[in-house]
């Protein structure tokens, strides 16, 4: 059973030449109920569980969260918002606004100085350290600087989440090869990150983030190192994952990307404060200036 079958048709778009063709592929994915049915069968209980969780409105809840590094000023102040299960969010803000810090709290790389964070219905602030790995396996992260393991091949980098989760080696190869095909790197299986271009590294990082079928995907400036054409293609990969039920949070500077995802919510950070605490704004926000929201 090809558990990643729904991705493959979307993945084909990476190999296609133009964004328009990519859009067609996404449209095809949306229309292809048969693909979805296969996904439902392939992922089995995982997707069924996810659909049930979808009934649970909020997958993430921040309340009055503050974060301070050392004894300096607060990097994040009084941040409160909720993320709905299965929704797509953009997080915008100028450099130094606190986007990366907020994402770090989201993917449990950092604990807040104050406030409360609920993740998957549990208090993430007081979560015992021993339980963090279980939570982290439910979150896919695309780091701003990719954080690929330089001496591992593209294949091994993508396989990492499965191996960390204890998936038997015999069950690793097929999904990894599917992911490589999905991101258009089938011919770069053995390439090490230093030999990959920025865009290729980005795609490996994305494949690694989504191979474990995370419930939340967090991407920090995922299009910052690629050309606009590739940026749009990558965004469509996130979109196709979102359509399968994953909550997606993308931090970006790229104003042009914001309008590309239908029904995406937007959160804006300014000097560590969330300007849109409800996260319910659609792009373009009604009170946004006509230019770049940064």
């Amino acid at each position: 059973m090809r558990v990643l079958a729904p991705f493959v048709s979307a993945g084909n778009m990476v190999n296609l030449r133009g964004v328009a063709q990519g859009r067609q592929a996404v449209a095809h994915l949306r229309a292809c109920r048969r693909c979805r049915d296969r996904a439902m069968q392939g992922a089995g209980h995982q997707i069924l569980k996810r659909a049930m969780r979808a009934a649970m409105a909020n997958i993430v809840q921040f309340e009055n969260v503050g974060l301070r590094y050392g004894s300096g000023q607060e990097t994040l102040s009084d941040v409160s918002f909720t993320l709905s299960t299965g929704a797509f969010y953009f997080l915008t803000g100028a450099s130094g606004a606190g986007k990366t810090s907020l994402l770090k709290l989201l993917y449990l790389s950092q604990r807040p100085t104050r406030g409360s964070i609920k993740l998957f219905g549990e208090d993430a602030v007081t979560l015992p350290r021993a339980r963090l790995p279980g939570f982290r396996r439910r979150i896919g992260v695309v780091f701003q600087d990719f954080r690929l393991v330089p001496h591992l091949s593209a294949y091994d980098n993508i396989a990492l989440p499965l191996r960390v989760s204890g998936v038997p080696e015999s069950d690793v190869e097929a999904p990894v090869r599917e992911m490589l095909a999905w991101v258009g790197l089938s011919d770069r299986v053995e390439a090490k990150p230093p030999t990959l271009s920025g865009g290729e590294q980005q795609r490996v990082a994305i494949a690694r983030a989504v191979i474990g079928r995370p419930e939340i995907l967090v991407a920090d400036e995922p299009t910052g190192n690629v050309d606009p054409d590739m940026a749009e293609r990558l965004l469509h990969l996130f979109d196709s994952l979102n359509r399968l039920g994953t909550t997606v949070v993308v931090a970006t500077h790229d104003f042009h990307l914001l309008g590309r995802i239908q029904n995406a919510h937007m959160m804006r950070l300014d000097k560590g404060r969330l300007l849109d605490p409800t996260g319910s704004l659609r792009f373009p926000p009604p009170n946004a200036p006509s230019g770049n929201p940064e």
């Binding site: 350290r129 954080r147 091994d156």
Partner: protein, 297 residues
């Protein structure tokens, strides 16, 4: 989650191991070389001490110190009879007078052979049971038969040698323990340095949901291999040195030094040292990594 001590083949690629033989291997080779030498010294002196104990434990010398030759001869005969009648005694033989004269020649010169010189008669005695009680019973029997008799236990005049051997054995054991402690310390430092070197990879692994035990397993395996490889190299060289020293000792032909030999059990213990050190290093690495990772989020 598996808690196996050794990582899987895929896990082995996680830490960059393409740098060939590492300094750790050679440090471990030196550690094990010194440890095996110390161990061999300890085991050798232990077996020599055991042999010495066995040889001296049941041995006595009875001297009949009597100036009048007739009385000396009479008391010697009575003492011999009493000794041979004693159930504890397995052998009682008078030392030949000519042999005694020869032993005394370095001190007395040719006068030692003078029949008028009152040289004590001596009886060499072996006991079946070397207990203090048996020695006391035999001594009492001899003194009844020969009031001029003096009884020396060989054990008592060789005790300084025995004490020295015991000290060397303990010293060697302490050296082995010190080397083990030093090995553990080196491993802890190496593990901490390794954590620092691979900090980025470890952070990525943590973010992907890796547990501390999974990360520790990577280091355990690597350090266990380094220790085992270095240990085998050091042990093989040390065994060669020990064999060479053994040949030199054998060529000396000394009864005392001949006891400094290693038996099959001793060789097995020495051969097991690299494995024991590899296990020790593995556990030390595991503990060091888990403690250090506890400070990460």
């Amino acid at each position: 989650m598996s808690v196996a001590m050794i990582a899987s083949a895929a896990d082995r690629r996680l830490l960059d191991e393409s740098r060939g033989t590492r300094a750790m291997t050679w440090i471990m080779a030196i550690m094990l070389f010194l440890t095996v030498l110390a161990g061999a010294l300890g085991l050798g002196t232990l077996s020599a001490a055991v042999l010495l104990d066995r040889q001296l434990a049941g041995r006595l010398t009875v001297q009949i110190v009597e100036a009048v030759e007739a009385k000396r001869t009479n008391q010697t005969a009575l003492a011999l009879a009493a000794l041979r009648a004693s159930p504890e005694v397995t052998r009682a033989v008078e030392v030949d007078h000519a042999k005694l004269a020869m032993l005394l020649r370095p001190w007395l010169g040719t006068d030692g052979a003078d029949p008028d010189l009152p040289i004590p008669a001596m009886i060499d005695v072996d006991l079946g049971v070397a207990s203090d009680a048996a020695v006391a019973r035999v001594s009492a029997a001899v003194r009844v038969a020969a009031p001029s008799a003096r009884i020396d236990r060989h054990e008592s005049w060789m005790s300084p040698v025995r004490d020295f051997m015991a000290m060397v054995t303990w010293l060697a054991a302490a050296l082995v323990l010190l080397m083990a402690a030093a090995t553990a310390a080196v491993v802890i430092l190496a593990a901490r340095a390794g954590l620092e070197t691979h900090r980025d990879t470890i952070e990525v692994l943590h973010m992907l949901g890796s547990t501390d035990v999974q990360v520790a397993r990577l280091f355990q395996r690597r350090i266990a291999i380094d220790t085992l490889l270095g240990g085998v190299i050091g042990t093989v060289i040390a065994i060669g040195v020990i064999a060479l020293v053994g040949l030199q000792l054998a060529a000396l032909g000394s009864d005392l030094l001949a006891g400094l030999s290693l038996g099959a059990r001793d060789w097995m213990i020495l051969g097991g040292l690299p494995v024991a050190f590899a296990v020790l290093a593995t556990l030390a690495a595991r503990q060091a990594v888990l403690t250090a990772l506890g400070r990460y989020l």
